[in-house]
Amino acid sequence: MRYCKKCLFPETKPDLYFDEAGICDSCRSAERKHGIINAIDWDDQASKFEKLVDGAKKNRKGIYDCIVPVSGGKDSTYQVLQAKNKHRMKVLAVTFDQFDQTDVGKHNIQMLQDIGVDHIHFTLSPRVVKSLVRKGFELVGDPYWVNHVGIFTVPYIFAVNFKIPLVIFGENPQLEYGGPEASRDSFIMDKRWRQEFGGMRGLRESDMVDLDISDADLAALNFPDSDDMESAGAMGVFYGSFYKWDIGLQLPKVEEIGWKRLPNPPEGSWVDYENCDMRFIDIRERIKFLKFGYGRATDQINIELRNGRISRSEGLLLAKDWDGNVSRENEDAFCEYIGIDRGEYLSILDSFVNKNIFDVIDIGVYKLKEERC
């Protein structure tokens, strides 16, 4: 298997592109981001965002200038701070309820009240959510399918109905983690983006309708029509397309006001400040590891590697240690939540293992055929 010569991404990662020098587009984007080669003009980008902000303030038809979709994570908390304090916008924070919320996550959501913005915490019927978590896990190997769809859709439902002109998401994933060329510089987050990049993995809302779930149950997950978006004057953007996304600078700002990390990194992760609100993140990331040969730790190490804060060889050792690890306690709790036994769980996991790159050692135990390098 081929790996990027600069970072730890393998060629199996979807939507990753290697150049002739064997460098992935995510690393090339980082060079642009940090002003090394083909630098992004951040001053110019910032002035573009300021124009959007001015337009939103001038043209808003309701009582808010923008929506910030908020999970309670460091990124969205930072976005709220920036929107309110730097850009002086009237912010409506919108949360799509996390079904497996942690205590730390709960604390971080509560912090929105301290920041002083209005906040809608939207909870899709737990009965429906549970069923969608199970289907997401069984069909596409992602228990968080419902959360991806929710967070990329529900804020727009409120934007359209409250006539709010801007929906501000955080980092541009195609710039940070790799994506087709045209998508790296696009700052728009719309329905097409959701379908193509929004973590839906080819599974759509209408696929979820069955004997237990009706179209009406899923109505809040249907992206508003373009006509409705237009008449509300609503558009979604990535803040990370306009301002250089650097966790090293953002984290102290949110911690200063009381935002908390996890006591320890989740299994399979390397840092304690990501996915703080997702108890079962290790399960999703184990499946990603079994599908593509890399996990969450690699994503996190790569970011620090591109920021020049760790070397590739150090990172490789860490990734080998952490990627794909999972907590048995979490696995059991997850099985209980969706109502399957361990045998079914392991058999679903097994169906997603890429056996071109993994050897099966035992039930639920896999080893990469080739040592990572």
């Binding site: 199996t12 990662k13 979807p14 069984e138 190997g141 993995r201 080819g202 599908k291 890429n354 056996k355």
Partner: protein
């Protein structure tokens, strides 16, 4: 009147789902397992899986994955890519496929295709006819569009001669662009071919299926529209029902 089919086509490179544009620049979309499970849950009329690297690099098809797909697929499963002989086809049928999609072999060794059709029946052999338009008209190509071959008319005759039961007709010019089907190609093919045709390459929205289904064809196949636009089988069939196109009840 025979019911017309809507058929998702999934392009594969190993265990990875990819999508090409004009048969080039495969973009990695995701993992094959998830895609097969999603389409199975949707109850499409048929599922076509094509390994786009197999013939090009003379690789054997991924029999383990075909077996997995067949087990998880509640609809007829057609497998293409890398079918270089009767023996390979035999292994694919043993793995659980319902039909084989024959591309390069149809240009290279008609007798071998004939052997497959004789043994497994006409209904089990689909001729993949890939073509581009040039000044002289429509020309067919082998090896995933890599090598120029015979005229469209000649190749339709080849398909009949070797006992294929159906044609999967792909416009390489339109493939992956999502700008609509090549209606001129469909018209010409319907006139030339005595075999049922499934049209592929160009679907960008539900209306494209409506335009295409007006021709005397047996079905429409598509790929990008499911991946990027997010249409489901239900989204596509609903406007077709409105104009009384005969469809299966899924």
């Amino acid at each position: 009147m025979l019911k017309k089919r809507v058929i998702p086509v999934v392009q594969l490179m190993g265990n990875t789902v990819v999508k090409t544009v004009n048969f080039m620049n495969p973009r990695q979309v995701g993992d094959a397992t998830a895609t097969v499970k999603v389409f199975s849950a949707r109850s499409a009329d048929e599922l076509v899986l094509i390994d786009i690297e197999a013939s090009k690099y003379s690789k054997q098809p991924n029999f383990d994955f075909i077996e997995f797909a067949a087990k998880n697929c509640s609809m007829p499963l057609t497998i293409g890519g890398g079918i270089d002989s009767f023996d390979t086809a035999k292994k694919i049928f043993s793995a659980g496929a319902d039909k084989v999609l024959i591309g390069s072999l149809l240009h290279e060794k008609l007798t071998e295709v004939e052997k497959i059709a004789t043994h497994y029946g006409q209904q089990a052999v689909v001729a993949a006819i890939d073509c581009r338009k040039d000044k002289a008209g429509y020309i067919t190509y082998s090896s995933s569009g890599g090598e120029k071959s015979v005229s469209l008319e000649r190749h339709f005759s080849n398909a009949v001669e070797c006992g294929a039961g159906e044609i999967l007709l792909t416009s390489i010019d339109q493939e992956g662009l999502m700008e609509g089907f090549d209606l001129e190609l469909i018209q010409e093919s319907v006139e030339l071919s005595s075999l049922p045709i499934v049209v592929n390459g160009g679907a960008g929205n539900a209306q494209d299926f409506v335009e295409c289904m007006k021709f005397d064809i047996s079905g429409v196949a598509a790929s990008s529209v499911f991946l990027w636009e997010g249409l489901t089988i239900k989204d596509i069939k609903s406007p077709l029902r409105d104009i009384q196109i005969p469809l299966t009840n899924f």
